[in-house]
């Protein structure tokens, strides 16, 4: 047990994209990820911005945290691009599962308010499925 790295440790020094339209939530999530040694890309508040960040980050990106509902749009185009690149991601949302279209139902979902331990577990599970 002592040798198993904690979820936090696995992500130390790695690169996570944060997509969240509410500044307070985004800033809080980014700050707490950074305090754990994660390199945060973003946060991005819109689909366009997020796609730009994914493109710029290239191979550096190890994962993403995606808020489903971004003001007047849904985050799914970002999820599509990440899937195409084989980058694991987690949805964060206040909606329950029934609102997620079936094409994305398999992706892990963290309900808000987000628990970081759960977030890392979801990402790890997603990664091991690759």
């Amino acid at each position: 047990m002592a040798n198993t790295p904690t979820p936090y440790e696995t992500w130390k020094g790695r690169c996570l994209l944060v997509v969240e339209d509410d500044y307070l939530i985004a800033a809080d999530l980014a700050a707490s990820l950074e305090s754990l040694g994660v390199e945060v890309i973003g946060p991005a508040g819109s689909v366009d911005e997020a796609l730009k960040l994914v493109e710029n980050a290239g191979d550096r990106l190890d994962g993403a945290v995606l808020d489903i509902n971004l003001r007047n749009e849904r985050v799914y185009p970002v999820a599509d691009v990440l899937t195409a690149h084989g980058i694991p991601f987690v949805f964060t949302t206040g909606y329950d599962a029934s609102v997620v279209p079936s094409a994305y139902a398999a992706a892990p979902r963290c309900e808000k308010p987000v628990d970081k331990v759960q977030l890392f577990r979801c990402l790890a599970r997603r990664e091991s499925q690759k």
Partner: protein, 462 residues
């Protein structure tokens, strides 16, 4: 010539006498040409209450009701019988004691002897009343079935229709004849027909039919949701195995239900988001607090600012909030602030803010107001505060430019920190969340803050 065979049989006269005498349920009597009673059997005695002796020689008018006597019914009956060879008599009659019964009788003219009439009649009151009740029930049913706003039908237990109401015919445009049997299915949405029919086999087990399905409206060929129920007709007189059913328009109800689902999901989303915002405010406040006590005060104040905007949100129906209400809410929340117009001026046109903008602006204004009360214009006797805004209409979005201007303030010799939660909200949260442009400066006589927020054009009043 009577042969041997007929001689062995009783005479017609004897037979007649016996029939007449033994008939207790039938009143059998004869009248002369003018309607005077000439014979009266035991049945007649029983039925009308007069003995033969009492009534013989009296006019048969005695047994008619006073209304019928007045309108000449007895004489009419005699002349009808003479003219047609027989006359039916279906009406109320009157007994000796004045009580009435419904008689069903027949009168025929006598051809032999001096002529006159033969009449046979019996009491059919019960049957008459039952038939009348049935007629009334039927009338009542038709009245109900054709007047209520539901589509009514009669059906066999397997769903084969035997009677569609006029409303059904009008609503669906499927005629009476075409609706019979399973023809009515043509007005049901093709996707719902299987379920509709399957529900009928279920219904026979359960003794009740129930389904929600779409029914086509002839007027616009639209399918509207209906709730259809049917049950077997119960009652002594029914005798049939028919079921009666109704179809009720529940289209609006269904629409409301699905709207409610959307609203519930939206509510859940907002609540969870709000909890995340609260969590982030708590984290931020922890970072800037020097003691648990100062955390408590600040966190409490920020939560109240958040809750003021939320309650504004809950009150408006179209989900937009007036900027004036947000500004006034934050200023008047500080109970020690006097809304004195020589000290505080709030001027601006009506602007409707979308919820996300209202929340972010509300929190930023809360920080500005808190600082003004603690150190700025609202803390010093000579201080003045002006909050003004204007709308620049451009397409596709308009811009609201809000100016927070404190004056007459003697600023501390050491300029305030360039960081802090208020500054973060104004300089980072508003641009991030609303695409706003913001400026926050400490001028020698007080704080100036400018916030330019793009808002969707349609949320502007007027």
């Amino acid at each position: 010539m009577p042969d041997k065979k007929t001689e062995l049989l009783p005479s017609k006269e004897e037979l007649f006498e016996l029939v007449v005498e033994s008939s207790e349920d039938f009143a059998i009597f004869t009248l002369d040409r003018s309607g005077i009673v000439t014979s009266w059997n035991r049945g007649a005695e029983r039925l009308f209450g007069y003995t033969e002796a009492e009534i013989q020689g009296c006019s048969s008018e005695l047994i008619f009701t006073s209304e019928d006597r007045a309108s000449g019914v007895p004489a009419e009956e005699l002349s009808n019988a003479s003219a047609n060879g027989r006359g039916a008599d279906e009406r109320w009659h009157q007994r000796k004691n004045g009580s009435r019964f419904w008689a069903s009788g027949l009168m025929m003219p006598l051809k032999s002897g001096a002529g006159g009439f033969f009449k046979i009649t019996r009491d059919r009151t019960e049957q008459h009343q039952a038939a009348q009740r049935l007629r009334e029930n039927e009338q009542r049913f038709r009245l109900l079935a054709t007047s209520i706003p539901q589509l009514v039908f009669l059906t066999r237990p397997d769903g084969s229709r035997t009677w569609p109401s006029p409303q059904w015919i009008v609503f669906t445009g499927v005629s009476f004849d075409r609706s019979l049997g399973f023809g009515w299915l043509e007005a049901i949405h093709p996707d719902d027909r299987d379920l509709t029919q399957r529900a009928w086999s279920e219904a026979q087990k359960k003794g009740e039919y129930y389904i929600e399905h779409r029914v086509r409206r002839e007027a616009d060929r639209e399918y509207l949701w209906h709730q259809t129920r049917a049950k077997p007709i119960e009652g002594e007189n029914s005798g049939s195995s028919d079921w009666v059913g109704t179809m009720t328009d529940i289209n609006d109800l269904r629409a409301l239900q699905s709207r409610q689902h959307v609203l519930m999901a939206e509510l859940q989303h907002r609540t969870r988001n709000l909890l995340s915002v609260v969590q982030s405010i708590a984290n931020q406040t922890i970072h800037s607090s020097t003691s648990l006590e100062s955390f408590g005060t600040q966190f409490g104040n920020r939560l109240r600012a958040l809750s003021r905007v939320q309650s504004l949100l809950a009150r408006v129906e179209d989900q937009v909030i007036d900027l004036h209400a947000v500004v006034m809410g934050e200023l008047s929340a500080h109970s020690d602030v006097e809304m004195d117009s020589s000290k505080i001026k709030v001027i601006g046109p009506a602007v409707a803010l979308p919820p996300s903008a209202a929340q972010a602006l509300g929190l930023a204004l809360h920080e500005l107001a808190t600082n003004a009360v603690k150190y700025g214009a609202l803390a010093q006797p000579t201080g003045k505060l002006e909050v003004t805004w204007d709308v620049k209409a451009t397409k596709p979005t308009a811009e609201v430019a809000l100016l927070w201007r404190e004056s007459g303030v003697s600023m501390p010799s050491v300029p305030p920190k360039r960081s802090g939660y208020g500054r973060e909200l104004i300089e980072r949260a508003l641009p991030y969340q609303l695409g706003a442009k913001t400026w926050l400066e400490f001028e020698p006589d007080g704080v100036r803050c400018a916030i330019v927020v793009p808002i969707p054009t349609e949320s502007m009043h007027g």
